[in-house]
């Protein structure tokens, strides 16, 4: 399986074929139009070159073909808009899959890393606070919040199961980034102060890349993340391995004494920067 080459990157997304199909249709259309046009152009240049005995005609002929061509191009554009672009956009960017069945994950961009936040077994994202953000707690996760106790915080790694919808809640801590996974045919700006969202479904397993597509500073070129799509069993196993340990002790401590020192949970294993 060749992942990347001179053509479109491999598509392992359930919906990416729509975008690929549109790109291919447009390029075939462009090629036909350009080659046809260029032949006419080249023929005209040769036929009407200056030479002895040849004179320019003063009378301007009227051509009907260009008008048909214009209408044809316009109609084709209407088809592209109504038949492809509008519905694909609506499906991929606007209509969101059901949150209950989907894997939900927050991705918080910063110069120059992707912080990934899984809600853990309770399915609730814990509170975060900009004041708590540090290199050991890049999300600013408030571990005193009960729903934060089982949350997984990891940097530059996005694990997803195949065959399930994944919803990514996108935001940024500092400047504008753009989150893209080329093999998933998804791209969305991460803008500070804005809540971005995107979703996709991986159909095949494999190790791929997350890239930053918007100039975000000197390290823009190395803001690379790992995108790992794996079988649902492997994914569940990975989630378990990443869960904060020990999960039971802080819960008890939190109930007994809210100010117990156990709450600033250690950085989960695997959160170390990759």
């Amino acid at each position: 399986m060749q992942k990347y080459g001179w053509g479109l990157p491999i598509d392992i997304s359930a919906n990416g074929w729509q975008i690929d199909q549109l790109i291919i249709i447009i390029h075939v259309f462009m090629a036909i139009l350009f080659v046809g046009w260029f032949c006419f152009f080249a023929y005209t240049l040769i036929r009407f070159r200056q030479r002895s005995g040849h004179k320019a005609s003063h009378h301007v002929g009227h051509f009907k073909l260009p008008a048909y061509l214009e209408v044809g191009v316009a109609l084709f554009e209407v088809v592209l808009l109504l038949g492809f672009s509008f519905p694909i956009w609506s499906q991929q960017k606007v209509v969101k899959p059901d949150e209950k069945d989907a894997v939900r994950v927050r991705v918080v961009a910063q110069q120059f890393a992707w912080n990934v936040h899984y809600p853990g077994v309770d399915g609730k994202f814990g509170k975060t606070d900009p004041a708590l953000m540090s290199s050991s707690n890049p999300l600013g996760l408030d571990r005193t919040d009960p729903s934060a106790l089982d949350d997984i915080s990891i940097t530059n790694q996005l694990h997803v199961p195949t065959g399930r919808n994944v919803i990514v809640y996108l935001s940024s801590k500092d400047v504008i980034h753009s989150f893209t996974i080329p093999v998933m045919r998804v791209k969305q700006d991460a803008i500070p102060g804005h809540a971005g969202e995107l979703w996709f479904q991986a159909k095949d397993a494999g190790d791929f890349e997350i890239a930053c597509a918007q100039l975000c500073g000197l390290g823009h070129y190395r803001m690379r993340g790992f995108f790992i799509s794996e079988s649902p069993e492997k994914f569940e196993a990975w989630l378990k391995a990443q869960a904060p340990k020990p999960p039971a002790v802080p819960k008890v401590a939190a109930q007994a004494a809210p100010a117990a020192p156990a709450t600033p949970a250690p950085v989960p294993s695997g959160a170390a920067h990759v």
């Binding site: 992942k3 990347y4 001179w6 053509g7 990157p9 975008i19 549109l22 790109i23 447009i26 462009m30 350009f34 046009w37 006419f40 152009f41 009407f48 200056q50 004179k55 320019a56 005609s57 003063h58 301007v60 051509f63 061509l69 214009e70 191009v73 554009e77 592209l80 808009l81 672009s85 509008f86 991929q92 960017k93 606007v94 110069q111 900009p130 953000m133 500092d174 400047v175 504008i176 753009s178 080329p182 093999v183 045919r185 998804v186 791209k187 700006d189 803008i191 500070p192 102060g193 804005h194 890239a211 930053c212 597509a213 918007q214 975000c216 000197l218 390290g219 070129y221 190395r222 690379r224």
Partner: protein, 591 residues
């Protein structure tokens, strides 16, 4: 019909109001602080050509890093300081400075001043039969504001921390938290914006008020129409950017928060400031200028190509009225397509549908213009001199640039192609082998009028052939890279596995860029050699019909010895039973 009568005085009176003939003025008034539109045009032209060369130099340096990331730059690497290229290896800081300034310089200091400042200034008053621009002092001020703006931009390379490095688009918050170079960039832009504003007002008034007797709007050369619409674009699109630049300057210097949202954390430090701003607002204001700006780059080029095609096919333009209508329509539409640059900022279906539809609509008049220009060749007697070669090559090059805009203008395909090298290839095809070829065509075409001498045809054809080959060599590979997902603005693209297979194309593109640089040597030599030693020619060497060719060569201050009277349309070529195959607009005889 006489506009001059409305104006209160004829061209002769306007001429007298300059006080005296050019040769009476001291050197500094004649050539430095000149109020003569032709001298100002040439000042613009020379300055802009230098900036084009400089901006091209910046990217030739960057191309090394694209091709051989992290390797020391040979030969010249050692000449740079340690905070730009220690040991000849380019730092990311320097790379991003080069990138931001390449864009800024090429667009705002190179192409627009050459297309509008130089060709507009020199040719428009001559083509409409006016003695000068309507406001000569304003014209002078416009040039000097541009000059100061350029100096500010150049000076910013030498301040601590270097020049702007947030891209030519300067998106906040990155640009607001960037170093001092960005402040210089904003101040430089303020000068350039005001320069363009003064120029645009001057063009509009000149074209409306100072047309010669008989020069109705239907008899205006296509180039003048293109400049007329361009002037309106500049007038209406630049003020929002001026406002935006002031707001960004306030965000940087006075710590306001127009573009800065609350709760920013940079390097684990909470950013001070009230917050509550919106970075997307900048993008709207920026692209509200920058999309019409694209048409400011292309319309004058189309105008030049139209003039040269009519002259060198010895035939009128096909569909003059359709061409003019299309240019005006493009002008209107260019104000409502800007957000197609911002599809991925989180736009909903309705908004993005609107901007997709307007984007598809604006492609129609562009196709009409391209079609009309190609059909103008049909039935002609095509003279392949250097200006015509560049003008003809403009057509397929602009065609490629326009067509590749299609998958970017449809937001579904834009998801994959946005911010990839595909975008770089697309807009460079429009402005590099597109607009810049048209500008070269214009230089070769009007050089005899400006200097009284022709540029060498042999050197011109060498320049053309190699420029055409290497332009395509530089930009064609970018489409393939873009398809493969290679992202733009990458200091080291090989960091990404998906960019590695197409890395040989980066090398190919870079080598082409350096060869393209070499291909400009015949032009530079030709340009200066021909000023002094070119073949002397009479006032109308191309046997053209428009008014500038009936003025003396080079035209004196005040242009025409006698105010011209216009009798016919701009492209009366190959008229049956006429003694010549061209019939100048101001020639009186009925046959």
């Amino acid at each position: 019909m006489s506009k001059n009568a409305v104006n209160g005085h004829g061209p002769a009176a306007a001429h007298d109001s300059h006080g005296s003939h050019g040769h009476d003025l001291p050197f500094w008034q004649k050539y430095i602080f000149s109020q003569d539109h032709k001298i100002i045009g040439m000042q613009y032209g020379l300055t802009a050509l230098l900036f084009l060369l400089f901006g091209f130099g910046l990217v030739m340096l960057m191309r090394w890093q694209f091709a051989y990331p992290g390797q020391p730059v040979p030969f010249i690497g050692g000449l740079f300081s340690d905070d730009t290229m220690p040991g000849g290896v380019m730092l990311p800081e320097f790379f991003y400075q080069l990138g931001a300034m390449h864009g800024t310089i090429m667009v705002f200091l190179g192409i627009v001043p050459l297309a509008v400042g130089a060709f507009g200034n020199y040719v428009v008053p001559l083509q409409i039969g006016a003695p000068d621009m309507a406001f000569p002092k304003l014209n002078m001020m416009s040039y000097w504001l541009y000059f100061i703006g350029g100096c500010v931009m150049l000076a910013s390379f030498f301040i601590p921390g270097g020049t702007a490095q947030s891209g030519w688009t300067s998106y906040p918050p990155l640009s607001v938290i960037a170093g001092q170079g960005q402040t210089f960039w904003l101040i430089g832009m303020a000068f350039l914006i005001n320069s363009s504003l003064l120029g645009s007002v001057n063009f509009i008034v000149t074209i409306i008020q100072l047309r010669a007797d008989g020069m109705t709007f239907n008899r205006l050369p296509f180039f003048v129409w293109a400049q007329f619409v361009t002037a309106f674009l500049l007038l209406l699109a630049f003020p929002p950017l001026m406002g935006a630049a002031v707001l960004q300057l306030m965000d940087r210097l006075a710590h306001t928060s127009f573009f800065m949202p609350s709760g920013l954390v940079v390097n684990d430090q909470v950013v001070a400031g009230s917050g509550g701003g919106n970075p997307v607002l900048w993008q709207h204001l920026f692209w509200f200028l920058a999309h019409p700006e694209v048409y400011v780059l292309i319309l004058p080029a189309m105008g030049i190509v139209g003039e040269i095609i009519a002259c060198n096919t010895r035939k009128t333009l096909y569909g003059y009225k359709a061409l003019v209508d299309s240019v005006i329509f493009i002008g209107f539409m260019s104000f409502i397509v800007w957000a197609h640059h911002m599809f991925l900022t989180g736009m909903g279906t309705k908004m993005s549908a609107f901007f997709q539809v307007t984007t598809m609509i604006i492609s129609i008049p562009s196709v009409i213009i391209l079609t009309a220009l190609v059909l103008s060749l049909w039935g002609g007697s095509i003279r392949f001199n250097t200006p015509m070669l560049f003008a003809v090559a403009f057509l397929p090059m602009f065609g490629i640039g326009g067509l590749t805009g299609l998958p970017l203008g449809l937001n579904a395909s834009d998801i994959h192609l946005h911010d990839t090298n595909y975008v770089i290839g697309h807009f460079h095809y429009v402005v590099a082998p597109g607009t810049i070829f048209a500008l070269f065509a214009g230089i070769y075409h009007w050089f005899p009028k400006m200097t009284g001498r022709k540029m060498s045809e042999v050197l011109g054809k060498i320049h053309f052939t190699f420029s055409l080959i290497f332009m395509n060599g530089v930009f064609m590979p970018m489409f393939i890279q873009g398809m493969a997902g290679v992202l733009r603005r990458m200091y080291d693209p090989t960091q990404y596995a998906h960019a590695v297979p197409t890395q040989p194309l980066s090398v190919f593109s870079s080598v082409s860029a350096w060869c393209l640089g070499l291909a400009q040597i015949p032009f530079i030599f030709n340009f200066f050699y021909s000023i002094f030693f070119g073949k002397k020619v009479e006032e109308n060497p191309w046997h053209a019909t428009t008014l500038e060719w009936t003025a003396p060569t080079p035209p004196p201050h005040g242009n025409f010895a006698v105010a011209p009277q216009v009798y016919r349309g701009p492209y009366e070529y190959s008229t049956p039973n006429h003694k010549n195959d061209f019939w100048p607009q101001s020639m009186r005889e009925t046959n």
